[in-house]
């Protein structure tokens, strides 16, 4: 009876164990493919299992020594003992002859990672040594050829050896092994893109040389021609990669610069629009910033600029461009105020097409919202421009009798802004550090919280000859516009 039960329990347990085993083995396999660690989910556990679980059957001596050697290298690396690490590395190379095919296949990448790390930091190593090592390692594990080539090129690029880097990338670009896998393709695209970037560097050097030359100079034409060559090559190289979802800021930037230089505005716009709006791409704030800057250079209509920044506002409401966004919105919203009658007639036709009065109000309202949004962020609390804009915007909004807008924004903030911005601590420290900032903040505090608020009281009590006038004006404005007890 109880025997049977015992068995049953053990059975259900062993399912659990099986699950564990499964997960561990799969991880193991993955590990051997990815080659990045000591082989298991938890390295400390591995040791236990090795000692406990093999039941006396020890690992082969070879495997033991190589894994011990690996951990010595890692330890030495983490202690910055480069010389020691290099010595261990010398012994570790024997793993290339491991009878275990998993380990043998995994070895070249580990050797490359550790070896390059040692050579990069070892005080006695030099570029030639690194090159030799990289060239060796490329050909030991064919699978790593592309990866190593790319890293090698980056190393050379970082050391200012652009031509060597370019040669390296060109070699890698034409390399093929077996069936063309998707990962290979992406790597080749990357290699081409980096090559394109190198060509861009060359191009931009030529461009600078060209700008120093006289147009009538004989050399001008040749230089210009060679520039064109470079740009053509670059566009071929860069074009493929930036279609793949990713963050390609440096590539996109340089590509667009070249396209713009040769007057291909449409091409540049297409690249940037795709980079910013393609849903497969992560929502990269820089993509929208590049597009905005491009449109600004192009002198695109204000509406267009606003629509780009609207999206950036959704992603990064704390971005410094938000203040520019506010300016654009304010201009767009208040444009009718400064118009002559004739213009008004003109505008009447235009507004039917472009924007209605309601839309303008919308912009003004959004402008206010954007400012509140910027000042929500801890990193923007001392942005004097933002406070200035907010004070001005609040005044104008209240003058335009849009109290509801202000209240709408304020309602979600009134329980934390007083402590966050308008505390006694800030009043004291702002006054000490930046009196203009303190005055702007006090004005906002007075409008939003009334004369009784700590911040306003502290600042208005200060008697400082430079800001006396300011404070007086501030008091007047607060009296006039404070949203607290608006009836009074």
């Amino acid at each position: 009876n109880s025997e049977a039960c015992g068995l049953r329990c053990t059975e259900s347990m062993s399912d659990f164990s099986e699950e564990l085993i499964k997960s561990v083995t799969e991880d193991d396999r993955r590990e051997t493919c990815e080659l990045s660690g000591t082989g298991m989910q938890l390295p400390w556990l591995q040791k236990h299992i090795e000692t406990v679980d093999t039941g006396g059957k020890k690992e082969k001596d070879f495997a033991q020594t190589t894994s011990a050697c690996l951990s010595f290298i890692q330890e030495a690396l983490l202690k910055h003992q480069w010389q020691q690490a290099a010595e261990y590395m010398h012994s570790y190379l024997q793993i290339l002859e491991d009878s275990d095919s998993y380990k043998r296949q995994a070895a070249p990448e580990i050797i490359w990672k550790l070896g390059s790390e040692i050579l990069y930091y070892h005080p006695k190593s030099n570029v030639e040594m690194f090159n030799t090592f990289a060239d060796r390692m490329k050909n030991i594990g064919v699978m790593n050829y592309l990866k190593i080539s790319l890293q090698h090129a980056l190393y050379l690029l970082h050391h200012g050896m652009l031509e060597d880097a370019n040669r390296n990338l060109s070699q890698a670009e034409t390399w093929r092994y077996g069936e063309k896998s998707s990962s290979q393709e992406v790597l080749i695209n990357l290699i081409q893109a980096y090559k394109g970037l190198l060509q861009y560097y060359a191009w931009s050097k030529k461009k600078r040389e060209l700008s120093q030359l006289d147009k009538d100079d004989y050399a001008y034409n040749t230089a210009s021609q060679s520039m064109r060559d470079h740009s053509w090559k670059t566009s071929v190289n860069l074009g493929a990669l930036i279609q793949i979802p990713g963050v390609w800021d440096p590539f996109v930037k340089s590509y667009v610069e070249m396209l713009e230089f040769y007057g291909d505005q449409d091409g540049a716009r297409e690249v940037l629009t795709n980079y910013a709006y393609d849903e497969k791409f992560p929502s990269n704030p820089n993509a929208h910033i590049y597009l905005y800057n491009f449109l600004k250079r192009e002198k695109a209509p204000r509406e267009k600029l606003i629509s780009v920044l609207k999206i950036l506002y959704q992603i990064v409401p704390s971005h410094k461009l938000m203040l520019e966004f506010h300016r654009l919105l304010r201009k767009s919203g208040s444009s009718q105020e400064s118009m002559s009658i004739i213009n008004c007639v003109k505008l009447f036709v235009q507004t039917l097409i472009i924007m209605t009065v309601a839309e303008k109000e919308e912009h003004l309202k959004l402008g206010l919202e954007v400012l509140f949004g910027v000042l929500d962020f801890a990193g923007c609390t001392k942005n004097i421009t933002a406070w200035k804009y907010l004070a001005k915007c609040l005044r104008q909004t209240l003058m335009g009798s849009h109290l509801a807008w202000v209240q709408e924004e304020w309602n979600s903030r009134k329980n934390w802004w007083p402590g966050f911005h308008f505390s006694y601590f800030w009043a004291k420290s702002d006054w000490k550090e930046d009196k203009t900032l303190a005055c702007e903040k006090a004005l906002v505090a007075g409008i939003l919280l009334g004369k009784g608020c700590r911040y306003f009281r502290y600042i208005s009590k200060q008697d400082h000859q430079v800001s006396r006038k300011k404070i007086k004006r501030m008091k007047k404005l607060v009296k006039k516009y404070s949203i607290v007890n608006p009836g009074l």
């Binding site: 009876n1 660690g37 400390w44 704390s318 962020f377 801890a378």
Partner: protein, 822 residues
Amino acid sequence: MDFPGSLRPTLFRTGLLGLSNVPDMSFMCSWRDALTLPESLPQNSEVRMNGAPHMAKGLLWEPETPGPLPLLPPGPDPWHPGLTAQDLLFRGGHPFRRQPRVVLDVTEQLSRFLWDHGDIAFAPLGKLMLENFKLEGARRRFSILGGPILGKSVANLLGELLYEELVMRWQQLLLDDAFTGGALAWVPGRTPRVGQLVYPAGGTLDKLSRGPDFQEVSLTPAGDPWVLGDPGHIRLRGPVRQVVTRTVQGESLLAVRSDYHCALWKVSKQGRPAPLQVLQVEKGATGISLRLRRVYKDPETLVFRDPSPWRWADFTAHPRVLTVGDRTGVKIIDTQVKLERRSGPGMECCDHSEVCSHPERQIGTQRLVSSDTSPTPQSRPLHLASSSGPQFSLYLVDERLPLVPMLKWNHGLPSAPLLARLLPPPCPGCPRPLLLGGQGGQLQLLHITGEEASTPRLAGPPQSLPSRSDSLSAFPLLEPKSQWRLQERLKAPTIGLAAAIQPCASKPVLSLFQLSAAGDVFHQCLHLQADPGPPGDPGPDSCAPTASWTPQATACCSRWLKALLEVPPAPPVWAAPTFSHRHLLACVEQRKVEGKVPEGLRAAMAQGRLLQQRDLVSLPTAEPPPAPEPGPEDELSERLEAAWEGRAAAWWERQQGRSSGPGKQPKRHKRRTQLSSTFSSLSGRLELSDATSPPHSPDSEARPRPPVTPPSQELTQEHWAQGVPSERQQTLRDYMAKLPLREDAPGGASVPPSQTSSLRATPSRQRTLRDCAAKLPLQRDTPEGASVPSSQTSSLRATPSRQQTPILSGSQPHRKKPRMGF
């Protein structure tokens, strides 16, 4: 806030951050990360100069001693390392030879459980029967039909519960997230050199060290700590799991998380804490962050794809937007209705298992706010997300671009880095140190560079810092047992990490404090190594200088060790459950036996003292009367009642007068021998609970136990009888007496009045269960002896079966190290 104008090229994939079939662009080598792309046209050879400043090759925090030193004397409470993986793992021959694998030894756990907790394991059977069956009728049929079913269902239930417990224990062993975030904090004081350490102390970590102040520590210019005064304590209602400090608008705030409470203090400039707020958390708190005097309570409304009791929340750069993480990923949520547009899935570091069967498990997210004391700390919206999985990786994520990590680093720590501290730059232009603390005590220091408008990068090769185990060499060599104890103590998991950088020193000094699960605070000083000179210069730094122990350091260690060895060793984690004898007393009273129970006995029980002869009034000293004729049960209880009251002899005489016959005489002798065997088996059974310890004494732990023979039915029954409430035991025993085996000889043997004295006088205190089992066949031969159907006897028997009750108080308490720690 500035956003980096140009981010490093990264491939973007939907789904898992750690896994994909496209090439991993972050490599294990740190140099790859240190490289930057020239922003614009490189000036040929100047590139190196442009790119180089971040590449501080000689960036190294050099430890002053080879290991950290104890800062405070060890606490007076003993500490036990608890369960280890070795306790749960299967030992012995194994079919998987090629790759060792994790196999939990369930059989051993089950058998251990049955040995250690027979009462728990077998009592439910009795309970089940009591609820569902009346024992008056159809006993025989029930016992035949019900026996196997009941036995099986109980064992199944037991198996399930054990399974659950094992899973829970194993998971806890793999990753104990209770102390995520760390329970040690440094509250800066009036000057940068003075601060207070706040940490839980005491055996159960429920005392928050405080005096009038918390433990005040002063750092000498060289970085050596100077402990000022003796800390007092705030006693809390549960173990402290996390301590967080932050300076908000010039005020030092201190938040403490225990399992079900979170509390907030304000620490004055003089270092005196004043309580501000306490929150009770019904579902259990798993994380606490501090800013704007707000303690965040985990909302239950968030929907996650996987059940994950562990949650972690932190603030973002927007004080009303939070990141909430669980084991499957991180979300950015907005606590304001107004801004809900930005809520929704944010950083999905990990994805559901449909995408991949082995997602990396998220083990912590943290907003990287450095512990600057300035009123406006660094506000870069960076978050640190670490994950466990096949690779232990660490991600630096900008909340403005949450889907693409800014930096990924396979830290290679052998245990989960539940502690992370970002420190202010030690000198202007220097990279910020980011400290990672693994649960196992390992420490790693990363140099993070890239302020405001540039992407964060590793500024040099990461560095490992000495762990507490490295300090072993500073202690004098001990005899093996003490040495082992010291080693265990030094290996205790790290549950807290605090650091302070001394800004004004010519050579920046980093003071590092560690808190271990044993409650020890260790300290280490690290000096930032000056730039060794131009790279490529074959300086003497090819091999990092090795620190050595100073006489002061070894003296400090010796003092600490002396204090440690004075602490008594830890008591067993598990102790037999004790029941209040007052409760038992109430049972006695309820059963309306007033007047019949001698006052002495009741008084002894009420006082909880040893039951003595005189408590039982006048027990007859004469030869115990022989067993009576088998008769109706009433007779037996009558007799026992008489025995209890000390009038057994009178009863016997009465009885003799009622049924006297010469034919009975020869039987009497035989009965007496049967009776004696009954007693020995009874006493053996009584020893059962007491005698389970010897097979588990520490010296027998190491060797695998011989397979447990399946307990015979009698044993089983006796086992479950132990856990049954005393008032039900008689019914049970009634039932057992009627079991088919005994059916042929109905009627139980009577217990002579000398029973209690025989119980006390039993010499075989160390008799094991097996001894007892060995006696059982004997019992089978004389079935009537097995039943002791007297209410008084059973109530008396129930007392010893509860272990550590007055009657058995002479026996040794349990001294064993239970494997499961139930």
